[in-house]
Symmetry: C3
Subunit: 247 residues, 3 copies
């Protein structure tokens, strides 16, 4: 196989979206693109990643391949790619070959493949009826606000507004964005919905996005959420289990 | 009560001037402004803070109120205020309510009030006859110079110059600013005066100032100093006990 | 003696090139300039530093002098010099006096001299026939690439290219710069040569250079390398022992 992207740092950005959540992953290289489905070690969140072959300037493949990788090692290598360099991915003698190259220089890294389990991860079957579209910087700042008082955060969508609220020992935080504000470009909901989630996972999911990216959060009361965005031609979807208070 | 400042980060800057010195403080909200007098835990320094009601765009108050707060918690919350947002302070059910808001969004933080002791702090009664006015960046850099060799610093004012000198095991440092230099805009003294102070306290007192702020240092030989400046409409005065060598 | 440089931070840059490798050093102040030859504590590398008197705006000296200094202490003091200030070096009562001064202010630091051993360091007598000239940023980035997988790096010069390769437990790295690329401006070699070196030492040698500096690396198979560049009028040469694999 030979997969080439025009701009080496783009590949790094994409992998940065998953490196905080997933330690190891088995990429599937198919005729139409690159895929990864993985769960975080605690099995609270799941990621579904896809990068269509159109995101590459060259995409040659004889047959579908599976590539098991240590994601943080992959991220370390990809961080060495520089603006203006192309990045080429290949496989050679049981290792992933990552080559960054310019006109008269090249740098080649080889990293060992790892055994991927045969376990197949399926995306949760949830019919999402409600969502909010919010700028990445707004959700990032809101998570920082909430972090001051708690490790969990409650998300609320009503027809009028998207809001979060948090209660902790050191106080309370509430943030509200009305529909049609600069930050929240769209709200779709049939009713008021809410659910509580571990904050750190949400931070990890959005931290590699750029400030003006639009993030879609699908929310059902006390069900897993789905968080979705696009980056450098790749599509990222995350699922996160809610915390349900039992009384 | 309802106190509103035009620019949320301004409030953060002001509290940053005291957060390094004071752990807890009891603010007094009076009809003409906000006040705080507090000592650092080691009782070596004292701070007198005031912010007149003219520094607020809205200042409503039924009766004088005392508000005991954990200053570092207050600082953490204020650091969440963003440029372009207003900040509103209120009290509700024994908690301070801090609200940052823009056009179509708002973020509200509630932090618990704490019991303030009834101890009244009075400012030292010292008749200061000598002072120097110096740019904040010059005094900050001088403190960094001195820190290389000692944890204490001697300040000297003569009619011609403001200088500091320091002796330590690793060497000596001496810095001198002549009257009328870019850094020292004014010296007033009847005689030569000098006193030695713990360096860290001086650093904490000036670190939140902007580079071009003018700081007034009042100095009497072997007496506490008074250090004064204004910031975002607030007035800050610090007193610091000297170290007197006994032989 | 009285040695004055026009721009205080320049002196800091120069000392920063040696501070990571040498703990103590005995500078020789001669009629034509300032010299230092020193070995790192592990005796794997050697530095030869010279700064001709033309690099100073004032250079007065009655007789040749030796000045033993703690290099990291010297670096700390020099880091206090600011743009726009001159820096003056002198000796007084067994201490080095470093004075930074502007128009109406001055800052003076005195640091104790230390005993220098009488041991004379001589530069290795190697006839170098091969070298490569490479931009500082290119070699720095290459060292970072290599660091991902190993603590050692092999350098190779052929008539066509300068390359490095590294093998470690976590993978392999190979970087290649063809002659005449933006990064490698000149290659001179009669044959292919290669040798392996500890990576950290190379990093320390080049880290204080600016991105566009040209660094000359002299290389002979399995012999010490010589690495050379100029900075702020000073000339720096480093020698580094190779690691030779024994079988």
């Amino acid at each position: 196989m030979k997969l080439v992207v025009q701009d080496a740092p783009a590949l790094k950005s994409v992998i940065d979206c998953i490196v905080s959540l997933v330690e190891e992953g088995q990429f599937e290289v198919k005729s139409d693109g690159l895929y990864l489905k993985a769960m975080d070690p605690s099995q609270i969140s799941m990621i579904s990643f896809s990068m269509p072959k159109t995101a590459f300037v060259e995409y040659s493949l004889l047959e579908d391949t599976k590539i098991g990788l240590d994601i943080s090692q992959l991220s370390n290598v990809l961080s060495r790619g520089k603006k203006g360099e192309r990045a080429e991915l290949g496989v050679e003698e049981g290792r992933l070959v990552i080559k960054f190259f310019g006109d008269k220089h090249s740098r080649t890294f080889k990293v060992p493949l790892i055994e991927g389990g045969d376990k197949v991860h399926r995306e949760p079957k949830i019919e999402f009826k409600n969502y909010v579209k919010i700028r990445a910087d707004a959700i990032k700042e809101t998570l920082k606000d909430a972090k001051l008082v708690s490790s969990h955060i409650r998300l609320n969508i009503t027809p009028e507004a998207f809001s979060v609220d948090v209660k902790g020992e050191n106080g309370e935080v509430k943030a509200e964005f009305q529909s049609g504000s600069t930050e929240v470009t769209e709200i779709k909901t049939e009713t008021a919905v809410k659910a509580t989630f571990p904050l750190q996972y949400l931070e990890d999911m959005v931290k590699a996005t750029s400030a003006s990216s639009i993030i879609t959060i699908y929310l059902e009361t006390d069900r897993p959420l789905k968080l979705e965005y696009e980056l450098e031609g790749a599509k990222l979807a995350f699922y996160l289990a809610p915390r349900i208070e039992t009384e």
